[in-house]
Symmetry: C2
DNA sequence: GATTGTGAAAGCGTTCACAGCC
DNA sequence: GGCTGTGAACGCTTTCACAATC
């Protein structure tokens, strides 16, 4: 299949490509220049068929009998994910989490520099976190337009999250990463992803509870998606 | 269908139950005591059939022609998720993120008190974050056993994450929430969930890139999973 | 001989549509 | 008349298995 100009990659695959990318970059740094679907699968904790299918959506970049050239795959995945340039992000909310995110080196390192962090609370203004000064909410439009920001991060308390999202959308942001435990309402054409820490813990709690319930019943149930002496994501 | 003693709830449903729960608690606090699948669907940003199917895995707790009793549903979801008691968590890594997590009120509030936070770096010891003192890694076993912790949070730098996970497993933790951008390897029977901020941003970046590519081609593609004037999760 | 790329099969998750019940 | 509960249909994702290629 010749990779069509605007082919669509399944969401499940899109979610795994960043993981492969990270692992491939690490391999490259170790001086490894070729890898098989089996090898990458092992590193990623998935099976080889999935790796091959996922990579096949990018095009036919492997060599039968040999494997994939690591650097070339890195290049192709970056291109597909739109990582050939940096994506500056703006953070709304300079509380605990907002500050930690601004100070978290991983953002900058992986191509998402913090273009600015804003907060509505005057007491927080001009605090410097992670080398970025907290600015008033009214500076949002200016930050977004001057730095061409298209990704916003909502790190406000729940009650302020929808307002934060509305403001981000109004100034032209089209992708939002939401850390507030609320369901955001946004116009069509804006992509939202939600990261809810309490939800994650509650999912774990379900499995703990279930483990207790089934072991009490003397039964053995494997937790789905987790292999023998496995690697888990 | 009479809800069987150890029926299995699909993972996709398990991931949505905490969201319904949160919304139902909010409704309850507003004094609303009954809700239809349509109403809950609207709040959750999903469709009504999905809500009904999800809730049907708990049992038949609705009333035809009427809807669901909010408080009773809250009770049933909590029970199913194992939220009838608190689940103390231990955090490994007192860097930026670990501190923010310890200080984040949402954990305590939603039934996951921080039983302890440990770090390998002596310079961080005895710092107090969120009312909890940072303790040495060697205290891990004592914290876990004295407080009966079964959930651990890995908030270390990538290079230390596998070691952190190994130590958590060794002292008896059976569920891990991993914030480090690495694939953890754990024995069967241990559940791992990974939250990788860079991965989330890269998924958004893919959609941004795609939006740019397709609008340049004069085409219109709806982003899957996001409705008209929608509500997004 | 090794490994990819991919149709086909199997497995999940979502949505439809309507019978059943209030 | 309104709303739930759920089989059946549909669509997406994973896995299998093997021909194609190096």
């Amino acid at each position: 299949m010749s990779p069509h100009r605007t082919r669509r990659i399944p969401e499940a695959t899109v979610a795994r490509l960043p993981v492969y990318l990270q692992l491939l970059v690490e391999q490259s740094e170790l001086g490894i220049d070729s890898i098989s679907s089996d090898g990458l699968a092992e590193l990623a904790g998935v099976n080889a068929a999935k790796v091959r299918k996922d990579l096949s959506y990018l095009g036919s970049y492997g060599t039968r009998g040999v494997g994939y050239e690591v650097d070339y795959l890195v290049y192709q995945i970056r291109r597909e994910l739109g990582l050939e340039h940096e994506w500056p992000v703006v953070i709304v909310g300079a509380g605990n989490l907002g500050q930690a995110l601004a100070g978290y080196g991983g953002f900058n390192e992986r191509g998402f520099p913090v273009a600015g962090i804003v907060d509505i609370d005057p007491a927080k203004l001009d605090t410097v976190v992670g080398g970025v000064r907290v600015r008033p909410l009214s500076d949002l439009a200016q930050i977004v337009s001057s730095k061409s920001v298209s990704i916003g991060v909502v790190a406000t308390p729940p009650g302020a999250a929808q307002d934060a999202a509305d403001r981000l959308v109004k100034v032209g942001v089209t992708s939002i990463l939401n850390f507030a435990p609320v369901v955001l309402s946004v116009p069509a054409g804006v992509t939202v992803r939600k990261v809810d820490l309490a939800v994650e813990l509650q999912i774990l709690s379900y499995h703990e509870q279930r483990r207790a319930a089934t072991s009490a019943a003397g039964q053995l149930h494997a937790v789905p998606g987790h292999g023998r002496r496995g690697v888990s994501a």
